[in-house]
């Protein structure tokens, strides 16, 4: 009985992913233990969504997604704090542009190698950006992080809205993340999205079908960087600080863990994974200081025994994930 109801619910969610997302995250801040956690789930879910487009749908494992998250964050932060851009929208736009250009350049280099080398290269280039940000202290604040990002009211048709209230900020992020989720759905449903999944399943056959798979992969990489960059820009606004660690390998690792916990290659996996990770970290850190140890062990258990992740396992057997 309960099982049947759950199946019908998951089937409806699978058939109407964007609508489900809109409904669930509209009430989420009132369900979450506290509001700032809800905002973090949105932002890191978006970051993981970008990673998932590349790994889950295209089959390319990036171990350096901190790069695009960090570029988005620094781009937005530097535009607002150093260049004194007066509009939040323009600041976010500059952050997105930085992430996209960074994604295109790094993607070009990394895609010269396939398979396991790709993962190593993405990690290496992300670490290079970390060192650059670390040493270019005049621009980035170096080790202290980029401080003093002003949170201007956003200009909307018919007035402006202050984002200082946490709930207002949540719904500001919510609107942008909903647009990103709808954008992802559009990408996946397009012929381009079908080629991505063809590359994941069998790249040789995709070549034989006449697709220029390097171009498709690069485009997927750039879209992925775009989503990660938006997440970074939003996080810079949420914190009004960009810590230099946002480019560190541990940030890349976080998004890998989130996505795999939730379920790589599933539509909601990234958000399920982000929520699981953040709540786990929140609870665990009360009891033990070495909470990443526990996360590492849980992650290993998932790789070994639950490779589909939480959402992938729950919805296994349903058509159209």
């Amino acid at each position: 009985m309960i099982r049947g109801a759950f199946r019908r619910l998951t089937a409806w969610v699978a058939a109407h992913p964007v609508a489900s997302f809109i409904v669930f995250f509209a009430v989420f801040p009132f369900l979450a233990p506290y509001q700032s956690l809800a905002t973090q789930v949105l932002i890191f879910g978006l970051f993981a969504l970008g990673f998932n487009l590349l790994y889950g749908y295209t089959g390319l494992l990036s171990f350096g997604h901190a790069a695009y998250y960090g570029l988005g964050a620094y781009g937005t932060g530097i535009a607002l704090a150093k260049l004194k851009v007066a509009s939040l929208w323009v600041g976010l736009g500059i952050g997105l542009g930085t992430a996209v250009v960074g994604g295109a350049v790094v993607g070009f280099f990394c895609l010269r190698r396939r398979g396991i080398y790709f993962a190593m290269l993405t990690l290496a280039f992300a670490q290079m950006l970390y060192f650059i940000a670390f040493h270019a202290a005049d621009l980035t604040g170096g080790d202290d992080g980029l401080r003093g990002i002003p949170l201007h009211p956003i200009g909307l048709p018919g007035g402006s809205l202050s984002l200082r209230d946490p709930l207002a900020f949540y719904f500001f992020a919510y609107v942008l993340v909903v647009l990103a989720v709808a954008g992802l759905k559009r990408i996946l449903d397009s012929p381009f999205g079908a080629v991505l999944q063809a590359i994941r399943e069998n790249s040789d056959r995709a070549v034989a079908c006449g697709y220029d798979i390097n171009r498709v992969k690069l485009l997927s990489f750039v879209f992925s960087a775009l989503f990660a960059g938006l997440a970074g820009g939003l996080d810079a606004l949420r914190l009004t600080v960009v810590p230099v660690d946002s480019l560190y390998w541990s940030t890349s690792g976080q998004v890998v863990i989130m996505t795999l916990l939730g379920g790589a290659g599933t539509f909601f996996g990234p958000f399920v994974g982000a929520a699981t990770y953040l709540m786990l970290a929140d609870r665990l850190s009360i009891f033990i200081e070495a909470w990443p140890l526990v996360i590492g062990v849980i992650f290993m258990a998932f790789v070994l025994f639950l490779p589909r992740g939480i959402w992938g396992t729950l919805t296994a057997g349903l058509h159209g994930r």
Partner: protein, 294 residues
């Protein structure tokens, strides 16, 4: 004035050789394990870190650097065998991404585990008294310990080469990395060979950690830092190529060391620039075969 800076430059070249040697010890193990099992061991750096910590503790117990130098790599290698048996073996036959992900999780756990056991603050290790002095090489003074590290690295590489080229087991290892299916068809038990190679590779990482401790200090994040450098080395040298690992490892050691001398701020960045250039000119790496395990 010129004399002094030439001396400093020579010292820096030697230091590059030492750091390169450590990278070679690491990258060869990584490459050997990958060549045979297509497993990229992200935790390789964490075993290096563990080697340094275990050496610190063993030094306290045995009061002997020489005993530690032999025992610590054995302890770390034995742990590597356990990891292969209990964790990595379950993933053979799955996508090569899966062992990489698994060992990433392991590495995260090991870093935090090391902080729990040995504390969050880095430790310093002194080189043994016999090697603590500096030796006059005629044109400069150089710490004896660093010369010792170069000698140990060379000896281990020579032993490994003899093992791979001159023994039957070495022959099976080389054959297995060419064509595992064929070797199995000939009735050889590759599972035991895998275990052995994993143990050797991890043991070498442990040894690299023991040797690096007195020069670089011991801290929990040292492993992840060096694994990224090792990835650069195998991309530049060509994964699965032992000659590539040696040449690229020494090259990277020299590049970092010399950049530190001329432009310290760029030292951490320049290796990645070299990597990008190699990718543009020769995507399969200096010694790599195009298409190997891609």
């Amino acid at each position: 004035m010129l004399d002094i800076s030439l001396q400093a430059l020579a010292a820096q070249v030697f230091t590059g050789l030492v750091m390169g040697g450590i990278l070679v010890l690491m990258a060869i193990g990584l490459s050997l394990i990958f060549g045979l099992m297509t497993v990229v061991n992200f935790a390789h750096g964490s075993f290096y870190m563990l080697g340094a910590y275990v050496a610190f503790s063993l030094m306290g117990l045995t009061k002997s650097f020489w005993a530690t130098l032999v025992l610590a790599p054995l302890v770390v290698g034995a742990l590597g065998l356990l990891v292969e048996r209990l964790l990595i073996r379950r993933l053979y036959g799955r996508s090569p991404d899966d062992p990489l992900l698994l060992t990433f999780g392991l590495s995260l756990a090991m870093v935090e585990g090391a902080k729990l056991v040995w504390g969050k603050i880095g430790l310093t290790v002194d080189p043994p008294k016999q090697l603590a002095a500096a030796v006059d090489l005629g044109f400069m003074n150089f710490p004896v310990y660093r010369l010792f590290v170069i000698a140990v690295t060379a000896a281990v590489l020579l032993a490994l080469w003899l093992f791979l080229e001159k023994t039957n087991v070495g022959l099976i290892i080389r054959a297995g990395s060419r064509d595992a299916l064929m070797v199995r068809a000939l009735g050889l038990d590759l599972n035991r060979i895998w275990l052995l190679v994993f143990g050797i590779g991890i043991g070498m990482a442990g040894l690299a950690g023991v040797l690096a401790g007195p020069m670089r200090g011991v801290y929990a994040e040292m492993g992840v830092e060096i694994i990224i450098e090792c990835f650069v080395v195998v991309v530049v040298g060509g994964m699965g190529s032992l000659a590539g690992a040696i040449v690229a490892g020494l090259l990277m050691g020299e590049i970092v060391s010399l950049t530190t001398f001329f432009a310290p701020k760029l030292a951490e960045i320049v290796v990645f620039v070299v990597m990008a250039v190699v990718l543009l000119i020769r995507p399969s790496g200096l010694f790599g075969e195009a298409g190997l395990a891609e």
